[in-house]
Amino acid sequence: MASITETYLPRLSSRQAYLDYLDGYAVDRADELRVTKLKKALVKTYLFETMAQDHQAPDAATAFQDAGVILDRVDDSLFTARPRGEQDIWGLVELLERRHPVLYTLLDSQSAQRWWHNIIHASPWLDRVWLSAPIFTALWDYVHRTSPLHRFSKLTFEYEARFELDENGWDVATQGEEGDETAEEELEFIEPSDEADQRPERRSSRCTLVERVSEIQARLARLQEVYRPFHSITQLRIPAPSRGGHDFYFDGRVTNRSDSFLDHRQQVGFVLRLYRGATESAEQALWMSAERTGDEATEAYRLHGAPVVMRFSDPLSGGVFERWMSAMFARRSRFRLWGNPISLGPNHLHVYGVDRHLWQPIYLEFTRRHALAILPKGTCGNTVHRLVTNVQRFVDAEVKTWIGETEYSSVVNRSLTTRAR
């Protein structure tokens, strides 16, 4: 086993030296992977959203420092990173894409994820990047159009009927909300041991498909047709040019399993540009605001902005709707929303609330058939990606989403097409 000291980064003098170091490291790891003798950690990358559109937001470097990360400048966009109070270099932060810094680290998965969670939890200006199923679907389209068809790729599908009763008829979704305030999503990465795994049994699917690109492409649509959870893609491997690939996860984690850090960095940049394009298009369409038209005397206003509409593939059962709504606004709910629900009927709820992670307002409507969200101007579009990702994973794997009149998937595809030009 590698010791923790081997997973810190050395002190080097320049960007080039760091990139060379990580590239060489990647080659070594790929060789070890090939002979299944992996001794050291892989390069892990974590993607951030920074609320760059908010004029009150600090710049990305300040946001990290406020979250307890000491950044030391390598050049204008690359920094070494360590937790406050530590001397060793735990990782590198690169301002790879406007509003989306990334953290590269060689720490083992658990240490790296704990650090990442702590950073996000400590700052209202930093969030994960949320890769929803429509974003993965667009990325899959990119993979099968650009990768040799004989190469292997990997897709993971994940769906858990979180708000259905367990097999004994117990309501497990709403238990324990008032205890530990750590959000469910933050506990999720810690896999319980077999002995400690007391998770309730309920309808859930998690399956990973490792196959040649041509095979996946030939069968994916049919799989999705016969079994809905196949719509809920939560992980995708983008094959690297020579061997291995880059594993992207729904919550903004990426693992480099290729032999090239430089290719890894390029793929990460590509996905972030796609993501930024989709987020900014969504924000442009969604942001609700009013502006005065004409002169002071006429006092006329014009209202701009459109809602997000989510239509469930089938109406939720009354029980699922009730349990989801009562869990939705609990302090430790993974949806991270606050609001006083206004009940208009047993199947109808309005909430004029707040995204508790980013502390930005959001107005929501829920019925058993749909969810609708209004984003007041300034509320980050990342909130929409998080909502879609969580609904797809825990409520309805086949949920359809629109940004105003346009399908969310079209917004994502348009961004991909724009990037590809």
Partner: protein
Amino acid sequence: MTGSALRDPIYQLNFVLWMLEELPPAAPTRPFLRQMGYTLHSLGGSLPMPPELRVRLADLNLEARQAPAPDVLASRRGSTEFLVVECKAASFGAGSSTAHQARALLVVSADLRGPLGLPALPEISGVVSYLLPEPDSTALEATVHELAQELEGARLPTAPFAVLGFEERSDGVYLLDRHPPTGLPPDVEESISDGVRIHEVFEGETGRRLYLIPWDPSVSQTPEERQFCQRILFERVLAEALALAGRAPAPGEVHLPMDILLDRATFTLARRWRARQDIKHITQTIHRFLRGTIERHPRKFATRWDAMTRTLVVSLGSAEEHGDLLRALEEGQPAEWLKGRDMQQPELFEDEGER
């Protein structure tokens, strides 16, 4: 949903706005006006009467001092057609004070070029469209018809008009046209026909959609509807206060400026209220609510009131104190706080709250 919502001007205004929203076919609301090519031109703007018409109305002893201000003005893409939408709780008679406004609206809408500052040619008239609960549409249609004939008889320009009804049925809220032909474009009238469902409603739901406009203190409402709207406004204010507090540094200060909170909670439309002297009273009430909410927490926060900027400032000594402030605000209950309070009635010793 009770029938009183259909008669409520804020519900009706939001109903019209949802008909103009960008929505997909799968949405629970059909944006009928948008589908017919209309987009929102302006909300609540007044239409200044051209001077020549003022003289002629004055000669006929008809009220023309105040510029009429329809609730919504919508324009149709690719044409010069305008809808001048006025929502009403109930019908009114030709002798009522509301009929004076109706006459002015019919006259001024006959040519919107001057009132809207549009180019000189060609003439652009709007269709004055009244919307009200269906049982009353027949009576109002008769009234507006009478007013239009009276104006035409006096050789005053008169805009075409329509009187449309709302109706709540078991499966949704409908828009009806019971009095064709109206002044509406034929394709719009044909599409409404015997009724077009705007809000789809299933068992256990109501025809209320999210309120884009939460409240307007100048509007006359039933106590229940006023309470409902005030609650929405206060929920939105609380959300804005939490947003400011959540992103504040700790240690440091949280600044809660009352005017900005109200501005944000209403998409800035509260600025329209200023002329009506309502804003100060409402921000004072918001201040009392937020201060009361913070003071309910066991921790004693250090607060001060900055009278110059009308800002409640909370000093935070630590991250723990910051967490407690967020908890205190999260536990705010506008519905409970508003019980028995009516913001349209200033409270005794109101200014004492701002210390």
